[in-house]
C-alpha cells in the first residue's frame, strides 16, 4: 500500500525517459526477434520445401487416383483399402516385422557380447574396437555389395567354402526363398552390432567397480554378476538402443534393395521396397502414397509412445 504511491511519483516525473527506455528495449527486442528468425530462415526454407511440402503432398496424393495427363480423381480412402487388402503388402509387412525383430534383437545381443569381450583399457582392445567398427562406417550400399560376394551361392563361394570346412552343405543364401530373409537379417546384425557395442561400452564404464568386488567377496558367479549388477546399470541405454532400432527398421530399404531387390519370388519384399516398386516402377502413385502415410503414422505413434514411456520413467 505504501509502496505504490512512492513508486508512481518516481516514474511519473520522467515520462520521456521511461518512454525512451521502453522504446529502445522494444526496438532491441524486435531486432532480436528479427535475428532469431533470420537464423532460422535457412532451416525453415529447406524443411518446408523438402520435408513438409512433400509430406502434405503425400497425404493429398494418397486420397487420389493419380494419372498423369488425365487429371487426378478423388477416391477417398480407396487407396488405403487397396494397401490393406493387398496380399503382397501384407507379406511385406510380415517380412518388415521379421527383419525388424531379428535385426534389432540380434544386433543388441551381439553388441552386448562384443562389449563384454572388448571392455578394458588395453591398447590392443582399442585397436580391435576401431577395426570392428568399420561395418558401421561403411555405406549400406557398399556393405550390401560386399555381402553379395560373400554370399555367392556356389559351393566354392567365400561363405560356402567356410561352411564346407565345417562340414555343412552349401547354402543358397540370397537366392533361396527360405534363406534369403535370414541372410538379410545377418547383414543387418553385422552392420548394426558394433554401433550398439559402443553405446553399451559407454554404459559399462558407468558401472560401479566396487560392486563387482563385493559381489566377488560374496562368491557371486559371473552370471549373477551380469544379471544383478551389469544389466540393471545398462537398462537406460538398452531401452534407447532398442526403440531407435525398431523405428529405423520399419523403413529399412537400402540393404534389402541392394541385396535382393525384394526377390527371390518376393520372399524378401519389405514395406519400403513394395512401396518403391509401386510408386516408381508401376507409377501407382496414389496407392504408394497411402502406404507411405501408413508407415509415417506408425513411425509417429511409435516415436511419441516411446517418448511418453521415457518421460514417465524419468518422472518416476
Amino acid at each position: 500500500m505504501t509502496a505504490t504511491p512512492t513508486k508512481t511519483p518516481v516514474s511519473r516525473p520522467a515520462p520521456p525517459a521511461h518512454k525512451a527506455a521502453g522504446g529502445t528495449r522494444k526496438r532491441r527486442g524486435s531486432k532480436q526477434s528479427l535475428a532469431v528468425w533470420l537464423f532460422l530462415l535457412p532451416a525453415a526454407l529447406l524443411g518446408l520445401y523438402f520435408k513438409f511440402i512433400p509430406m502434405f503432398e503425400g497425404v493429398r496424393l494418397s486420397l487420389f487416383k493419380v494419372q498423369p495427363f488425365l487429371g487426378d480423381i478423388f477416391v477417398g480412402f480407396e487407396n488405403y483399402a487397396k494397401v490393406l487388402g493387398d496380399q503382397r503388402f501384407m507379406e511385406a509387412l510380415g517380412h518388415t516385422i521379421f527383419l525388424g525383430v531379428t535385426q534389432t534383437l540380434g544386433a543388441l545381443l551381439v553388441g552386448f557380447v562384443l562389449a563384454l569381450l572388448l571392455e578394458g583399457q588395453a591398447r590392443s582392445l582399442w585397436f580391435l574396437r576401431t577395426a570392428i567398427f568399420l561395418p558401421v562406417v561403411t555405406a549400406l550400399a557398399v556393405v550390401g555389395e560386399i555381402w553379395r560376394i560373400l554370399y555367392f551361392p556356389t559351393a566354392d563361394g567365400p561363405l560356402n567354402s567356410i561352411l564346407g570346412w565345417l562340414g555343412l552343405g552349401p547354402l543358397q543364401f540370397l537366392n533361396g526363398t527360405d534363406t534369403a530373409l535370414w541372410s538379410i537379417a545377418v547383414v543387418g546384425i553385422w552392420s548394426g552390432a558394433p554401433y550398439n557395442m559402443v553405446i553399451i561400452l559407454a554404459g559399462l564404464t558407468g558401472v560401479d567397480r566396487s560392486l563387482y568386488e563385493s559381489a566377488g567377496v560374496d562368491g557371486a558367479t559371473v552370471w549373477q554378476r551380469l544379471r544383478y549388477i551389469t544389466l540393471p546399470a545398462l537398462r537406460p541405454s538398452l531401452v534407447i538402443v532398442l526403440t531407435l532400432a525398431a523405428i529405423r527398421s520399419l523403413r529399412s530399404f537400402t540393404e534389402v534393395y541392394v541385396l535382393t531387390g525384394g526377390g527371390p519370388a518376393g520372399s524378401t519384399e519389405v514395406w519400403m521396397t513394395r512401396m518403391y516398386s509401386l510408386g516408381f516402377q508401376r507409377n501407382d502413385i496414389g496407392v504408394a502414397s497411402a502406404a507411405a502415410v501408413l508407415l509415417l503414422v506408425v513411425t509417429l505413434l511409435l516415436t511419441v509412445g516411446t517418448q511418453y514411456l521415457a518421460k514417465r520413467k524419468a518422472d518416476r
Partner: protein, 302 residues
Amino acid sequence: MTLARTTAAPRRRPSPSARFDTALGWSPQFGANMALRITLCVLVFCIFALPFVAIISAAFDRNSSPTEISLLPKTFTLQNFEVAQQQGLWGYLLNSLVIAGGGLLLQMTVSVFAAYSLSRKKFRGQALVLLLVLMTMMLPEEVIGIPLSLVLGDLPLLGISLKGSVLAVILPVGIWGFSIFIMSEFMKEIPGEIEEAARLDGVGEFRMLFTIILPLCKPALGVIGIFGFMMVWDQYLLPLIAANDPSDYTLTVALSVLRNDTTVGPGVLVAGAVMAMIPSLLVYLFLQRSMIRGITSGATKG
C-alpha cells in the same frame, strides 16, 4: 595393513583386483582365461574386419571372382581400377564428392544457425519450432520419397526442376534435425556471462555467433561433421530418385550399375566398392574420437 592394501590396489594396474575391472572379470594374467579371450577376439576380428581385407585384396587381383577370394592378391594388378575408370567411375566419384562436400557444408551451416536461435534465444513459438525440427527427423527420404521426387521435378512456386542436378541431393540433406539438436544441446552449455560480456562490447549477432559461440563449439562441430558426412554418404534412395539418368548417380548407387553390367567382371565392382569405402574410412579414422562421443551422448540423451 588391510587398509594400506585397499588404498594402494587401484593404482597398481595388474593388481589382483583387476579381475573386477570388467563385467566378465577378464584376467590380466597369462593363462586359460586370457587364451580364451584372445581366441574370441581373433574370431570377432575375422567376422567383422576380414571381409574388408578380402574385398580390398580382390580389387587388386587380376582374376578376382567371388569364388577365388583370398586375403592377399594372387597376381597384383591395377587393371580393375583402369576398367572402372573407363566405366566412368571417376564421374560417379566426383558426383559423390560434390554432393558430400556441398551437402555437408550446407547441413552444418543450417544447423549452426538454427541451433544458435534455438539454444541462445527465447522467442515466441520456440516450442513449435522445436517440434518441427523433431519432425524433420521423422520424415526421412524413404517415407516421403514419392512426393519428394515430384517436388524435386517441379519445385512449388519456383517452378524449376532440380532433377539431374547435384542440388537435388544437396538441398534435401541440408536439413537434418539430428545435427540441429546435437548442436543446440552443446550451445546450451556455454555460460551466458560470456555472451553478456560480448554484448556490452557491442558485438552484433553474426559476430557473436562466429567469433564467440562457434569457437567454443569445436567438439560439437566435429560430431555433426562426421555424422553428417556419414548420413550424406549413406544416401541411396535420394540420389536414385534425384537422377535423370545413370550418369547423375553417386558412387554408392552406381555400384548397382556396375553389378548389372555383364561386360565388366566382379573385380571392377569390387574396385568401385573400395573407392566408395575410402572417404568414409578416412573421415572415421581422423574423427573417431568425436564420433564415439557423438554416439554415446546421443545414447544418454536420447
